[in-house]
Amino acid sequence: MSTKKVLLSANEAVARGAAQAGCIVASAYPGTPSTEILENIAKFKDTVKCEWAVNEKVAMETAIGASMAGARSLTAMKHVGLNVAMDPLMTFTYVGATGGMVVVTADDPGMHSSQNEQDNRNIAKFARAPMFEPSDSQEAYDMVQAAFETSEKYRVPCFLRLTTRTSHSSSLVDLGEFHPAPHPVIPYVKDITHTIPVPAFARGQRLAAQKREQEMARAASHSKFNRIEPGKKQVGIITSGVAYQYVKEVFPEFTILKLGWTNPFPAELVKKFAKTVRHVLVVEELDPFIESQVRALGIKVQSHKTELNMLELNPDRLQNLRHELLKDVPKAKPTKPDPSLPTRPPVLCAGCGHRGVFYVLHKLGATVTGDIGCYTLGAFPPLNAMDSTICMGASIGNAAGMRKAGLKGRICAVLGDSTFFHSGLTGILSAHYNGTPVTTVVLDNRITAMTGHQDNPGTGKTLAGDPAPVTEIAAVAKAMGYKKVATVSADDLGELEKVLKDALDGDEGAVIIAYAPCRIAAKLTKEGLCAVDEKKCKACGACFKMGCPAMTRGKEAAPGRFQMKIDPSLCAGCKQCQQVCKFGAITRVR
């Protein structure tokens, strides 16, 4: 093995591959598991202009603009991010790329960090765009470069499909002669027959897309990324992505058709392969994307009872498949941890400003439409203060719909600052325009926290680390015409309750900014320290309803009733708990 190889995650490898391919513009919105791609591209900011767009649609449109102007461009997003960016994508595949354009979709089989599990290979097919599926970091590095070439050759944006396991696994990569430098820009020529798809032009482009799809399918059959690995011919296994690695682990002796370029489907190669083996077995993660296309060719595919088409694959699930089909291995042992052990779920951090807002909303008995961020944790005990979470920005439209449907009582939309910039602007505007009295609370912690602290239009900094103008959410709401706009410290429970009660019980729309910087991002985790006075604590348990990880059970004052004790190593000194104690037992000691 060459010592020149470096250990990289697929996300890191994609960033290096893009820089090496001469990518000039990269735009994305953070989303697990894709976030590190742009963070790593930012290391090459001398050659790649990189940015956090406010959402995936703008990111896609920016990459499209760069491609139309002749530059190589890249956009990256998690699987659900692509839903947001579908509109520009579906038309740009008609218009066609000039500079090579790569769309990285990072899917999340098993939903480690997502609200659904969608197989975006279907979207590549839907969009008639070519797609590569790497199985490790080396392939991610090689394929992203091939994707730029392919995009330019066929004049169409090219997909690179990662999954959580490839994005967040590291393996050795030979970077070759690594010299990141901008790829020459193709001179811009105005040609509206290509770039304005009015019906008269679009119909021609529709036909061209069809022809191009057929050409690419032929090319895929001869691609170096689609290869046959010889072995026993009793079973021939067709596989792609990280599933290939599990096949190598569990079915090492059999012939494999390893697909890396999976859309348009390399039918010619698959037909050839099927003729050389006795049984064809397809092993792929999530939907039967390959399998249904193999069957459509009239090829008999080995059926089985082992469920493989949902949740993340792993070697154990393939071992169960082998057990069923070949009966030469035992069933894999179940992987479940001992259910009698106490769980350790993620919790809002000690001193998190979201906690007080949910505490108050729970107290006010509000129906809370939630959103995507750390604050989704407010739904769980002991806060129990969220009713729904659908997608980025949905909280506001959901609250408006509930109000219009006649749902009684207090209804509150809650979302974070980055989510507000992403998809909340249109929501509050629509509610205001239609006169729907929605109260929107923006949990303004001045960072995109859950994905690992990325900057946004409220932070005053760009991805490249340069200073940026700060957009104030209160000013935006006022400019839209909202009269009831207030900014409250999220750590001040009394004021929060007063302002929220007033907004929720009023008959006009309101935008409340609950401000408290994320203590981890702002390095404020040791700002102060609170302690409990044992003489004053009546063990009433009111503070435990806040669910702060710094609170632990102290002395048992009466059977089953415990005093509260603060863990000084975790307390951030936010003083929220002090405000819920009726007996003045909690004081700030530092």
Partner: protein
Amino acid sequence: MKTVNVSLVGVGGQGILLTANLLADAAALSGLDVKKSEIHGMAQRGGSVISSVRFGDEVHSPIIPEGQSDVLVAFDRLEGLRWQGFLAKGGKVLMNNVDLVPVTVSSGLQQPVTDFEARLAKAFPDVILVDAAKIADEVGNARTMNMVIAGALSALVPFEESKWIEAMERMLTGPKAKLLPVNKEAFARGRKVVLG
């Protein structure tokens, strides 16, 4: 070399991912094929964290098959108990002598394990226990706890100590280079726990 599997488990914020990086780098510097895998969705918020490192002549799956970890490194005793199923027959267990009480227990939502010691003794009869936090305090930097564990782990995997040091030197560069001496000391103290 047959593939060696190391699982590292613990709580977000304990330096597990950094330790896994060091192990993977040291294996790569030893000329081995390596795969490292981790799931760190919301781990920063005090959740359970798992990282896997596999190395050998050729490694395919980044995920370690169930019950095939040659070494289980538990940064917290409850997490070690939780993921005991990872361990292969005859595998080694390295355990940080630390109990981080989960918020589910400290807040009274769930009950603590009453027969904790007995369960540990049953699950891991041959455990190597390391007082990593105490040792880290002794060397003068509580944040080197994970380096103490890395040092202990280095005595359980088949490559040279010098590769670990080289990996550490590659990791701590620039302004972090001044932390090298204390980290090296923490590493050496951890290694001594196993080798004596």
